[in-house]
Amino acid sequence: MRLYRAHVLVCAGAGCISSGCQAVKNALLENIERLGLQQEVKVVETGCMGPCDLGPVIVVYPEGVFYRQLKPSDAVEIAEEHLLKGRVVRHLLYQPAESATPATTFEQIDFFKKQTRIALRNTGIINPESVEEYIARDGYRALGKALSEMTPAQVLECIKRSGLRGRGGAGFPTGLKWEFTARAPGDTKYVVCNADEGDPGAFMDRSIIEGDPHTVLEGMAICGYAIGARQGYVYVRAEYPLAVERLELAIARARRYGLLGDNIFGTDFSFDVEIRVGAGAFVCGEETALLASIEGRRGEPRPRPPFPAVQGLWGKPTVINNVETWANVPPIILNGADWFASIGTEKSKGTKVFALAGKVNNTGLVEVPMGTTLREIIYEIGGGIPGGKQFKAVQTGGPSGGCIPASHLDVPVDYESLTGLGAIMGSGGMIVLDETTCMVDLARFFLEFVQDESCGKCSPCRIGTRRMLEILERIIKGQGRDGDIELLEELGRNIKSSALCGLGQTAPNPVLSTIRHFRAEYAAHIYDKKCPAGVCKDLIVYTISEEKCNGCGRCALVCPARAIVGEKKKAHRIDVEKCIRCGTCMEKCKFMAIYTM
């Protein structure tokens, strides 16, 4: 093995791939070779480092210098100046909004400073295709420790005492789930990883698998030992080809080292993992539908009980956990239950990974201790709302979740407090909304998603959400009627109590939570025929201020409907009948003379 004097870590998370990290990496390699540095500088591809809006990003060690928004042409400068001559290329550093000096290393950036990384401990630091690098970061030590120093009962006890709860949705205690399966009668048992991430705006499961696939395998193997299973399955959606590829590679490499397969660590414990690729139906994230899909049947949920813990895959007792839950297991075994339980809040232990997206300055992957407030996540890590706009609400938990308004920004984030506000932790999508978001339109978006993705097996979900969607569409068109809000609430309540699976039961949540916190906005649409956020096209009227308009004619020039008339150098006006409400005139007006009402 050879030593290098510098490691260049290139983020190859999904965000950076789409912003062109591969071209940057190739340019770096080219220039490193041109300068004859290939024996001294190593380039490593990693999983998602987190700050996706800054991509492509790289970190140069040993200094830990963080470069962002790189173009292939920047590689020349980084290679010649930094890698050859040791001079940091200042104009490629991150520039914090409030500070005059750029941040050199990533530790100086608020986005990283405020995070505690357990599930993401390796993501963005190691090469996900190298099992060796995972091992160097204590990988598979927890499995080794469990197999050589602990009984299955001790492993169960450790997970139970840690207070770990499922990171996929409702937050069921993980240790308890394992115990149910361990106690269930039968010799054949299964371990399943749910990597069917389908929430709009969520990408943490994908990032963990792409950035640190071995942690999922190790967590599953530990569970296999604890409950007496020898076969595991990872169910991952086909839309995540890179995750599938890295997982395949990880399984092959782990097998080669004997970390999966027969007689692991020389004990009589054998465990192996296979991948099942799903077609990407949202409902397949629901555990009973997922199991049906693995069995080769149509991905439809079934009533519970019996729960999968007792009757799961092929009727056998099965533990099914989410990717992030699995990623927490090895560190708990390695560091102990007390260590994990010391992080977080009374009832929610450990950390939670959020995919921060929407109207926020720093979007990306963040992991914070449970109990961190929404304000800290959005303002301190996320850097606040761009463009000087007002924060309006944050949507958590995807279509099963809800919106939390500004008045609750200081709520500590844990399972109970979010549920109390009509939202959920869910898998961890966190979409920030500013004043330009219409809450009725947002509710419509999520409901439309559920409508598209409903498996159709039960009528509350199939027909009930359709009725709700129709009402919302009417409201948005300005045809809302008195009593619509109450009707939506009633339908929502009924669907919640009668749908077959968790997805149907939570489908009305985006509507119910927006009504709860933004009822006035619904009322404005229905009774005043107005959209306060200026989003719903049928409800907004563009007007030109006579005082501000100097008659430059720019608006008339760009209007595709020729709806703007007026004499040169005199105030113009908009013909409401002709106006198609595209907003082009408002964008182009230099004098802020055009406004909506």
Partner: protein, 124 residues
Amino acid sequence: MKSLAELDKLREEIQREMALREKKEGIKVVVSMGTCGIAAGARDVIAVLLEEISRRNLQDVVLTQTGCAGLCHCEPLVQVEGPGGEKVTYGHVDEQKAREIVAAHLVNGQVIKEWTVKEEGERV
């Protein structure tokens, strides 16, 4: 992988390679790689240092580079920074001297006084 001990052995081996990415207290060896340094042969010096550190399996030594230190007439310059922050700067380092600096200073903690330079650039 037959035992935990076997895993630990592999782990330590790879950790050495990855030590670069961890912030650790240790010795930092800094080579000046300004145009002047490169012209005077700093590239060869850094290559030799890397080879020696790697061959001797030195833990907790970080080798990095910096720009022109303003002592162009003393190039190539190699600065050794101890865990306590004490700095020793060697001037006119060539491949042979580099090897000896690794042996004497990094391994045995012996500063080779006659090769050091003061900040003003005079020989001590």
